[in-house]
Symmetry: C2
């Protein structure tokens, strides 16, 4: 009876092919600009075939987001190995911004588009992933914040970990999303993205009571602009 297994495998493969194709098209052209017919043509099926795997276009998009959250969590994991608590937080922020601007259309779908969580159509697999630090990027951030608090690296109490994590998130999200939406606005005299990202991380970490002077001058890959902060921190 290997037949039904083969069929299920083929069905799952096609489903994933739909997801990957749709993701590519969405990333290239944007959500609204890509129709079901275009996706269907790309996978060489009729538009109706997609509806055998997803309730509607929004469900397809939702699945793409779900997988992308996993990917973000994956690259986030690279930062969690850093032992210095402040450096870990900084690295997580850098990774986040890098992910956002590298996949602006993904990012817009994931964090700049309201999605009503129906509570109904999320599978058990979804619930299992939630709260898992290896899969959930926010949990990794939260854990890094708790670690920093426990180590005394930032000046906050354990009960404020959620608030601190949300502030850090909002900071990098603000930098990333303004970059994505406004980077070619002629009214604003933008500083470079890397400078804005570093300034945000410097300012927030310093404001949280982190001791930035302890950093090695060349530690992160963030070019040269970190030096200016170290210089300033001494002035204070």
């Amino acid at each position: 009876m290997g037949v039904i297994e083969r069929r299920e495998r083929e069905k799952a493969e096609l489903r994933q092919r739909i997801v990957d194709t749709a993701r590519r098209l969405f990333a290239e052209l944007g959500y609204d600009a890509v129709g079901m017919r275009a996706i269907a043509e790309a996978i060489e099926y009729s538009p109706t075939a997609i509806y055998l795997h997803f309730k509607d276009k929004r469900a397809l998009f939702h699945e793409i987001c779900r997988q992308d959250f996993g990917r973000l969590a994956e690259v986030t994991r690279e930062g969690t190995s850093i032992v210095d608590p402040v450096e870990r937080l900084r690295r997580l922020g850098e990774i986040y911004v890098k992910f956002a601007v590298a996949h602006p259309n993904h990012y817009r779908l994931m964090f700049m588009t309201p999605i009503q969580h129906d509570e109904s159509d999320l599978s058990d697999e979804d619930r299992k992933r939630a709260g898992d630090p290896t899969c959930d990027g926010y949990a990794a951030l939260l854990e890094a914040v708790r670690y920093a608090i426990a180590e005394g690296a930032i000046d906050r109490k354990p009960a404020e970990a959620q608030l601190v994590a949300q502030t850090l998130w909002a900071g990098v999200h603000g930098v990333a999303s303004l970059e994505i939406t406004m980077h070619n606005d002629p009214w604003i005299d933008w500083s470079s993205l890397s400078r804005r990202r570093d300034e945000m991380l410097d300012v927030v970490l310093l404001g949280l009571g982190a001791n930035l002077e302890a950093r090695k001058p060349v530690s992160t890959g963030s070019t040269v602009s970190t030096g200016s902060i170290a210089k300033k921190a001494g002035r204070r």
Copy 2:
């Protein structure tokens, strides 16, 4: 020859009626959910009539945004009278977040949707408004930053005013936009909006070298943790 004047006035009135009606509908139902036919019906004209005033739906939306930028700048002006430089920056941030969450659909259209600046279809009136602190909210923020730097209230050089302004903007925009997009996400254990806003402003201003201790002691929320956070500290 008052006839042509009357006609122009009537035309301008209808144009503004279209803008106001569309704004109301967009704010209530969202951009995509409101069609040209719905707008037309609300103003009791045929859908085509709108196209006598606006090239397309996007141009109508663009005009709404233009006027809303003016309104944001207007409420922003209320903050610019504060003499204490740090308090002024904080007040501007509070006003910004308040505006954003009070008009989430406006805000999404204004700051969370990419709009290609064609350089072609912006009138002379547009160019005049740009850079005018009374009309341009960003300019007001920039001026407040320059003021704070000049007064020695924050620890930055005049040349970094743009960078500082953009960091402050990104901070409050991050708080506001995450609130708008994610506030009902069940995965995240959100602190209250006011706490997140205050924390962001506290952290960023402190990180910029502002002396927050001069404020009245009730200021920051970093005294006692709220019950909800403590209760849910075990996560999920």
